[in-house]
């Protein structure tokens, strides 16, 4: 089975391939059961709670070992771009209010969308999202004062562009908890 759209976005965002008896299959892990249970729609295998990284996460992860999903598309092969981006941004995007200032030097709050991931995925999003292409940020990662590598990020700070992105990625299969949070934040911004 070849994944596309929302499922491919989940796989890129929070999945990996495990190898068993020389055969690879998709494993999806996340603290939010939504992304894992989605795969019960297209795989015959069942989601379960896992104690993997319990000490770090302080709550059980959800996991599905989809032994009947053995490959995912290359980014260039993804057909349903908005569905793919919806899953990826739900999982690796943070929408919040940031402080900015106008030309008079007065500070004000405005929405900010940050998306994190590999350079390959940031380039893919940068080329496809309905916004001016941003400069990819290279973020140094430190955990407990130990350097653990580099993450890339895209920062969107135009409320017009953020609204355009959310309109474009919106679709039927979506994590309602995330969208309620996003819509609430954008509604509050409009009222201010």
């Amino acid at each position: 089975m070849m994944l596309d759209g929302y499922y491919a976005g989940i796989a890129y965002a929070t999945g990996y391939f495990a190898i068993e008896n020389n055969k690879q299959y998709l494993v999806v892990r996340n603290l939010d059961d939504w992304y894992v249970k989605c795969f019960e729609n297209i795989s015959k295998y069942k989601a379960y709670q896992s104690l993997h990284k319990l000490e770090r996460d302080r709550k059980p992860q959800w996991c599905i070992k989809a032994r009947d999903i053995n490959c995912i598309p290359q980014l260039a092969e993804v057909k349903s771009l908005n569905d793919f981006c919806r899953a990826y941004i739900e999982i690796h995007g943070i929408l919040d209010m940031a402080t900015s200032k106008n030309r008079k030097g007065e500070y004000f709050k405005k929405p900010r969308l940050r998306i994190y991931g590999s350079e390959e995925i940031m380039t893919f999003l940068n080329n496809n999202l309905p916004a001016m292409p941003k400069k990819i940020q290279y973020i140094k990662n430190n955990v407990d004062d130990k350097y653990i590598g580099q993450t890339c990020a895209l920062y969107y700070q135009s409320s017009e562009e953020i609204s355009a992105i959310l309109r474009w990625i919106d679709g039927d299969l979506r994590n309602e908890k995330i969208w309620a949070k996003w819509n609430n934040l954008l509604c509050l911004n409009e009222k201010e």
């Binding site: 402080t99 200032k101 001016m132 292409p133 140094k140």
Partner: protein, 82 residues
């Protein structure tokens, strides 16, 4: 105020809200900010607010009145000693 100096040419353009911000590559309507331009550091982003992935990350939120820009700048794009 902490100042930083860029170590390479950067490009800025207007977004849909008419605010200048850094872009990935030059466009027909973009402006090139030459290497060596100074920016004021307004804020430092030091966490990811997502405990799944650990608290991590650093980026500088910088402004420059000459170019009327307030945006994030990567540590890779500034000189280490300035």
């Amino acid at each position: 105020m902490i100042k930083v100096k860029t170590n390479k040419d950067l490009y800025i353009s207007k977004n849909l809200n008419d605010l200048m911000e850094f872009i990935s590559k030059p466009f027909s309507d973009s402006v090139t900010i030459p290497a060596g331009t100074e920016f004021d550091v307004e804020d430092i982003l030091i966490d990811r607010s997502d405990d799944t992935w650990g608290s991590s990350g650093t980026a500088l939120y910088c402004s420059n009145d000459e170019y009327d820009i307030l945006d994030y700048i990567s540590l890779d794009d500034i000189e280490e000693n300035c």
